[in-house]
């Protein structure tokens, strides 16, 4: 195993310590339980947006804590959902009284842990909502599976919902917006190489020199299918068409009903893409793929979108939701309405995403 790490047990902690030192103007890190939070939290009258998940997907989620995005992030061990005590303590820390929105990627572990956290937070009188992100079209049905995984759309939802929270929107409005982003986003990913979980010390799967995995998630797991390696254009076409031609997707998700104080089943349907749609195109490195290759993918994706009548109005190209050092790419297309575009463009100042007035170069903690 070749990694820039010290003791395997300390990987998550030391990485967070380094991030806190590098971005002391924006974030703080709390340990035992572990969470990253905005340096200026709680922000008065603002709903707190919290996300979290296993580590190994950096910069997600800790790198998105800051102005205009997340109030807190709860990192678990590598590829392991965090625990309810982290989520609860994060909520207590960043809740201004306006409540907390948990953005949850749809994995059995994440869902169950965040549900328990929400129950605990609600029992303490913190207004709370859990919204799921389940956008991975590689998972075909929700009847015979745990449902679509939450992948690239998570990053986009955190930005858009974070901007709306910054504007002072209330918890219900933010939950609606987050759900809207989710049902309009679709993703699919592939791997050229496996990755190595530090605690395991060897690659999660073995791939031949001329093989790739299609339809992977973000936990270093094998995908739906193993194939012979293809060209970037062919790979892009495979991913993009799976996304663009995906049918309406309907599933039932559990959401917390604030008024009743119980879990309710909500049926959601993703409307398929249509010619004329405005989309954000997100080409994401799985961690080890350089940006030069991402642009080769973006080039083809642009061509395909044009052919299909989708207008790419915004884009994001880089390593934002990763699987450690895995080589590979995921594509996310998000149908955007004008409000979503405006919120996407709104200023953001986090370790990993920054633009607009108020965004700054990274400051460091001065000497004590």
């Amino acid at each position: 195993m070749k990694k820039l790490i010290n003791k395997v047990e300390n990987v998550v902690r030391e990485s967070l310590e380094g991030m806190a030192l590098a971005h002391s103007d924006l974030i703080r890190v709390h340990f035992d339980p572990t969470f990253v939070y905005r340096a200026d939290a709680p922000v008065a009258n603002k709903v707190a947006v919290i996300s979290g998940g296993g580590s190994g997907h950096e910069p997600m989620h800790g790198g998105f804590v800051g102005v205009g995005m997340l109030d807190a992030a709860c990192p678990g061990e590598v590829f392991t959902s965090p625990t309810p005590d982290q989520m609860l303590e994060a909520a207590r820390t960043v809740n201004s009284g306006a409540g907390v929105l948990y953005i949850v990627k749809n994995y059995t572990g994440d869902v169950m842990n965040f549900e328990m956290a929400a129950e605990l937070a609600a029992s303490e009188g913190i207004p709370v909502q859990n919204i799921l992100i389940d956008d991975d079209v590689a998972v075909k049905d929700s009847l015979y599976t745990a449902g679509r995984r939450g992948v690239g759309t998570t990053v986009l939802a955190e930005k858009i919902v974070g901007a709306a929270a910054e504007e002072g929107r209330d918890l219900k409005a933010l939950a609606d917006l987050c759900r809207r982003v989710n049902i309009n986003g679709r993703s699919m990913g592939m791997a050229l190489t496996s990755c190595t979980v530090p605690a395991k010390g060897s690659p999660t799967f073995e791939l031949g020199d001329d093989e790739m995995e299609i339809g992977i998630g973000i936990h270093g797991e094998p995908g739906r299918e193993r194939m012979k390696l293809k060209s970037a254009d062919e790979i892009t076409e495979m991913l993009a068409l799976a996304i663009i031609e995906d049918d309406a997707y309907t599933r039932t998700v559990r959401e917390f009903d604030l008024d009743k104080g119980t879990w309710v089943d909500v049926e959601l349907t993703d409307p398929p893409f249509q010619p004329g749609d405005n989309v954000l195109a997100f080409v994401n490195s799985m961690g080890g793929t350089p940006v030069s290759e991402l642009y080769i993918v973006y080039r083809k994706l642009h061509e395909i979108c044009e052919k299909k009548g989708l207008r790419i109005v915004r884009n994001l190209v880089g390593a934002y939701i990763t699987s450690l050092e895995m080589q590979g790419v995921s594509i996310t297309l998000l149908r955007m309405d004008d409000e979503m575009i405006r919120l996407w463009d709104a200023p953001v100042n986090t370790p990993a995403l920054r633009w607009g007035p108020g965004s700054t170069a990274a400051l460091s903690k001065p000497l004590a």
């Binding site: 061990e77 959902s81 625990t83 994995y107 572990g109 328990m116 599976t145 745990a146 999660t204 270093g220």
Partner: protein, 212 residues
Amino acid sequence: MTLTKTDVLAWLKRVAEVIAENKEYLTQLDAAIGDADHGINMDRGFQRVMSQLPTVEDKDIGTILKTTGMALLSSVGGAGGPLYGTFFMRMGMAVAGKEELSPEEVLTMLKAGLDGVVQRGKAEVGDKTMVDTLTPAIRTLEDALAAGHQFDDALDRMVAAAEEGMKATIPLVARKGRASYLGQRSAGHQDPGATSSYLILATLRDTFKSRE
């Protein structure tokens, strides 16, 4: 023929050891159809349990099991954390205040734990999860006690059913949890959670039978 507090403590300690011994194995199973962390997570969790048990060793069995569940919940993470956390917490609630358990109380305890797992995870037998081990095992224990078998004999039958249930996950296509993403590719591999559940139940039997 009762399960004493000492037995319960011995069981938990032995589970911690068995999980540690099988850490690699469970992780390898999870690498095949999941994300290669089940053994690592369970081991971290039971280490946490071991560090917290001393504070409740002189409390009742219910408190000991609830503490175990809370320790697992706040240290395992993933799917295993809430499920095993719930399993032990519910068991603890079912035997609150007890210092020793009759065979029937052991059964009640295990059933409460399983109910919690099913409520939390919504899995059914055949979904290729820990439920495939727990459900037939606990049903077999119930039947054996009802048929008047000795407790240690009934435990043997429970473990045999647990093993069968665990092995029965091999050909299954997963419908719950992370393995379900693999579709047909999940067939041919034994489920890691079903395996850790087998280890936990087998250790209960072993501890009980090996006591002086």
